[in-house]
């Protein structure tokens, strides 16, 4: 469900599913954990294809952040509509920096 791309030493992870819900969150978390455990510290998660995230999906994201630890960073790019509103509503926009798109996220992280 994820495709990855290395840009300026930043791992861009694109979610290729429309929904990150309770049925998909475990697989999402597993695949993300594999990326993190392979040593990547700076990750941009591209949610532009995703149109729905529920609390299981959001929880999986938080769990990835914890796995990454304080030295790593997990930025979110391309969240719109219901997905972006979920971040605001749960105040997770204070936890994950939201970028309009991958380019903007990569630019800011590599600055």
């Amino acid at each position: 469900m994820l495709s990855t791309d290395l840009r300026d030493n930043i791992l861009v992870v694109r979610v290729e599913e429309k929904r990150i819900d309770a049925s998909k969150a475990p697989a999402f978390k597993d695949e993300m954990t594999r990326c993190i455990d392979s040593g990547q510290n700076q990750i941009v998660l591209d949610l532009s294809y995703v149109d729905f995230v529920d609390s299981s999906g959001l929880g999986a994201l938080v769990s990835c952040l914890k796995r990454l630890g304080p030295r790593g960073s997990l930025a979110v790019a391309g969240a719109t509509g219901a997905v972006s509103r979920l971040f605001t509503l749960t105040r997770m926009d204070r936890v994950f920096v939201l970028h309009p798109n991958v380019d903007a996220a990569v630019e800011q992280l590599s600055a």
Binding site: R19, D21, A22, S23, F52, D54, S55, S56, L58, G59, A60, V62, S63, L65, K66, G69, P70, G81, A82, R85, L86, L89, T90, R91, M92, R94, V95
Partner: protein, 147 residues
């Protein structure tokens, strides 16, 4: 005018998105996109809870959703036949769930957000559990056109 239709799946997380899609389509003429999102998220959270906590992930149990379309509100009821949810879990103030310290990694919640999201996204939320079934009733009021 009250129109109602009821939908059901068995307790399989893979099928929840079907319910979400069908219910969203039913609300399309009555609710704006943000309110449709609110209803969809609340419905999904409620059904996930029934499957995960009520039926402990066991498949083949029934989960039912009754949708009532009224002139001034959309009523969504999630009905199951699992053991009822503990009374106090719905009483917790939803704001508390998201009053975490974002500077403290350990304080950021990984779960326990579903009921809070339901209460923040719907105008009324009530839980009734009777002899044979539990019923979570969620109401979304329809904003008058003139506003």
């Amino acid at each position: 005018m009250v129109s109602s239709i009821s939908l059901s799946i068995d307790s399989d997380l893979d099928k929840v998105s079907l319910l979400a899609r069908a219910v969203r389509a039913l609300c399309e003429d009555l609710l704006g996109p943000d309110d449709q999102d609110a209803v969809e998220l609340s419905l999904v959270e409620a059904i996930n809870n029934v499957i995960k906590h009520g039926y402990h992930g066991e498949r083949g149990k029934d989960v039912q959703v009754a949708v009532g379309l009224q002139a001034d509100q959309v009523v969504i009821e999630v009905i199951d036949h699992a053991p009822p949810m503990p009374a106090q879990v719905l009483d917790k103030a939803p704001e508390d769930t998201f009053a975490f310290d974002e500077a403290d990694l350990a304080d950021i919640p990984e779960g326990g957000m579903g009921l809070a999201l339901i209460r923040m996204n719907m105008d009324e939320v009530e839980y009734h559990s009777g002899d044979s079934e539990n019923r979570l009733r969620m109401v979304k009021r329809i904003a008058p056109r003139s506003q």
